[in-house]
Amino acid sequence: MADEEIDKLLARVALKDRKAFSALYAKSGAKLFGITLRILGERGEAEEALQEIFVKVWRRADRFSSGRASGLSWLSAIARNHAIDRIRARRAVSVDLDEAYHLSDPAHDPEELAVLGGEGRRIAKCMEELEPARAEAVVKAYVEGLSYDELAARYDVPLNTMRTWLRRSLMKLKECLER
C-alpha cells in the first residue's frame, strides 16, 4: 500500500535525502493540504501552514519510528496539530469574526463517519454507542479542529456541559475500543 512507501520515504528524509523529500511531498501533500484547508478554512492560510508543516517534517523526520504508527498517520498528526495551533492563535485575536464564520457552516454532517473503512469501522461502531449529537461533536472537534468554546456555541450548551459531554464520550469510546 502507498502507506508503506511513505514510511520508507520518511526514513530516507531522516537521512536528509531531498529526492525522497520531494517524493514524500508528492505522495502526501494533497492529504495534508486537505487537513489544513478543512481546519483553517481559508486557502492562503492553509498554504502557508502546509509550507510550515513540510519544513517541520524535514527537520523532524528522524523522530518517526515506523514501529508505532504509519507514516501517513504521523504526518497527518503533525498537520492537524499545526493547523489547530494556528487557528487557536488566530481566534485568540478575532473570536467574534471566526465564530460567525463557523456558525454559518452547516451544523449537521452525518456523512462524516460513512467514509470510515478498515480500522475506522471499529470507531464508527463505537460512535454509534454514543448519543448522536455527542458523537457528532466528537467528530467535528477532531475533523474541524473546533475548540470547546466553539462547540458550546454551535450546540448551544454551556461550556462546562460541552466539556462533560466530550470527556465522557472520550472515555466511553476508549472503553468500547478496548473491548
Binding site: 530516507r12 537521512l15 536528509k16 535525502d17 531531498r18 529526492k19 525522497a20 511531498y25 501533500g29 494533497a30 492529504k31 493540504f33 486537505g34 487537513i35 484547508l37 478543512r38 498554504e47 502546509l50 509550507q51 513540510f54 519544513v55 524535514w58 528522524d62 508505532r68 504508527a69 498517520s73 497527518s76 498528526a77 492537524r80 496539530n81 489547530i84 495551533d85 487557536r88 492563535a89 485568540a92 462524516e112 470510515l116 473503512g117 480500522e119 475506522g120 471499529r122 470507531i123 467528530v139 472537534a141 477532531y142 475533523v143 479542529g145 473546533l146 475548540s147 470547546y148 468554546d149 462546562n160 466539556r163 462533560t164 466530550l166 470527556r167 472520550l170 472515555m171 476508549k174 475500543l177
Partner: protein
C-alpha cells in the same frame, strides 16, 4: 477559555482525559502549550497521548485530499535551502558532492549539534568538503579524488566517543537501501576507497551520509545510529 483546575472537572479521568482532549484538539492555545511541554518531559503521559492518537486516527479518513498549488513545493525548498546556488562552474565533471547544504540539527550522544558543511573545488579532479559541527567532537575535512575514487579523511578535531565509529553511506536513489562505503578509521585519518562497481552509482540525486555506529560499523548492514552529516550529489 478553558481553565486547568479542579472546578472544571479536569480530574475526573485525569491525565488520560487530558491526553484525549489534546488529541481531539479542543483545548485552547495556552493549555495546548502546557500539554506539549508535558509530552516532551513525561514519557508516561506521552504514551497516553500516543494511545489516543492511535484510537482517533481513523477519523483522518474524513479529510478529502486537495491538490496543493504546484509552486508550493518550490517555496518550501526556498525556505529550507535559501542559500543554494543553482550552478557552480569548475567542479569535477560528473557530480558535486556535499553541495553547500545547511544541515538540520541532529541529536547525537554528546548533545545537540548544529552542523554545517561547505566545500570548494580543489586542484584538478579533487573535491574538498569541510564537515564541521558546533560544540561537537566531529570536525573533519574530506577530499574526494576522482582519479583514485577515494575519499580521504583528514581530522581537524576528531573525538568520536569510544567504542563508536563513523560510517559513510551511499544512498543511490529513491527507494534504495543505504550502501556502506566503509567505516572511517578510528584515528579519523585515512581513506575510504569507493569500489569500482559502487562508483557507477554516484549519480545525480545520490546521497552521502555519515552516521554514528557501534565500533567497527553497523552490525546490520544498514545505518543504526544518528546521522551526523549528509548531502545530496547534484550536477553543477
Amino acid at each position: 477559555m478553558s481553565v486547568v483546575g479542579p472546578d472544571d472537572g479536569r480530574f475526573e479521568g485525569g491525565d488520560d482525559v487530558l491526553a484525549g482532549e489534546y488529541v481531539l484538539g479542543v483545548l485552547d492555545a495556552e493549555v495546548r502549550r502546557a500539554v506539549e511541554i508535558r509530552i516532551a518531559r513525561d514519557p508516561v503521559f506521552a504514551k497516553l497521548v500516543a494511545a489516543w492518537q492511535e484510537r482517533l486516527e481513523p477519523l483522518d479518513a474524513a479529510y478529502e485530499p486537495v491538490a496543493p498549488p504546484r509552486a508550493l513545493y518550490t517555496r518550501i525548498e526556498q525556505r529550507l535551502f535559501p542559500d543554494e546556488k543553482r550552478a557552480r562552474p569548475g567542479l569535477w565533471h560528473s557530480l558535486t558532492l556535499w553541495r553547500g547544504l545547511a544541515f538540520a540539527s541532529l541529536l547525537v550522544t554528546i548533545g545537540l549539534l548544529a552542523a554545517t558543511v561547505g566545500f570548494r573545488p580543489g586542484g584538478g579532479d579533487t573535491l574538498t568538503a569541510e564537515l564541521t559541527a558546533e560544540n561537537s567532537a566531529f570536525d573533519l575535512v574530506a577530499h574526494y579524488d576522482a582519479a583514485s575514487g577515494s575519499i580521504e579523511i583528514v581530522p581537524a578535531a576528531f573525538g568520536a566517543p569510544e567504542r563508536q565509529s563513523l560510517e559513510l553511506w551511499l544512498i543511490e536513489n529513491e527507494g534504495a537501501a543505504p550502501l556502506s562505503l566503509g567505516v572511517i578509521p578510528p584515528t579519523g585519518r585515512g581513506a575510504i576507497v569507493v569500489q569500482d562497481d559502487v562508483r557507477a552509482l554516484m549519480a545525480e540525486g545520490a546521497i552521502l551520509a555519515l552516521s554514528l555506529e557501534p565500533e567497527g560499523g553497523s552490525p546490520t548492514g544498514a545505518p543504526t545510529g544518528p546521522v551526523v552529516a549528509s548531502g545530496a550529489a547534484r550536477r553543477p
